[in-house]
Subunit: 91 residues, 2 copies
């Protein structure tokens, strides 16, 4: 699983990421795409996966959903834990 | 899977839900608990699952994570789609 199959979800509108996922899957380089998000972007990641599956590629399957905790360094040097999620969609 | 094994995530502080999940699992009525959330509460649901697993019950396993889309009626009668997620934790 290489990073170029990965779409990182940030603060942009949901449709930007939906387009990125659909483009990735239609490019033919891979039959699967990994949607990654941390913190509050996790709910947006679920929105992206659901919209792609319902509106654009109905045959797409959720291969796996994995949650984890990552340590993020703050500007002042302290660390805080943030939840992360990876959704793998497969054709 | 009955509803009394279910913890619905809303807008309260994360630790309220962590306590609810731990209490549910320690009550002995079921070896698993289902964490449900919709929309923006989805990221909080992942936080709850991660904190319970990391800080309170390290042996706990994620039995499944399922996403879906639900239709919600607005006050004016129109409907909108909202993402939903269920995380099942198992002892």
């Amino acid at each position: 699983m290489k990073d170029d199959n990965t779409v990182f979800i940030g603060g942009k509108p949901v449709m930007n990421y939906v387009l990125a996922v659909v483009t990735q899957l239609n490019s033919g380089t891979s039959s699967e795409v990994v949607i990654k998000a941390r913190g509050r972007a996790i709910s947006r990641a679920v929105d992206v996966a659901e919209i792609v599956r319902r509106k654009f590629m109905p045959g797409l399957k959720v291969a796996s959903i994995v949650t984890s905790t990552e340590e993020v360094a703050r500007d002042d040097g302290t660390k805080s834990a943030v939840s992360a999620m990876e959704i793998t969609l497969k054709q």
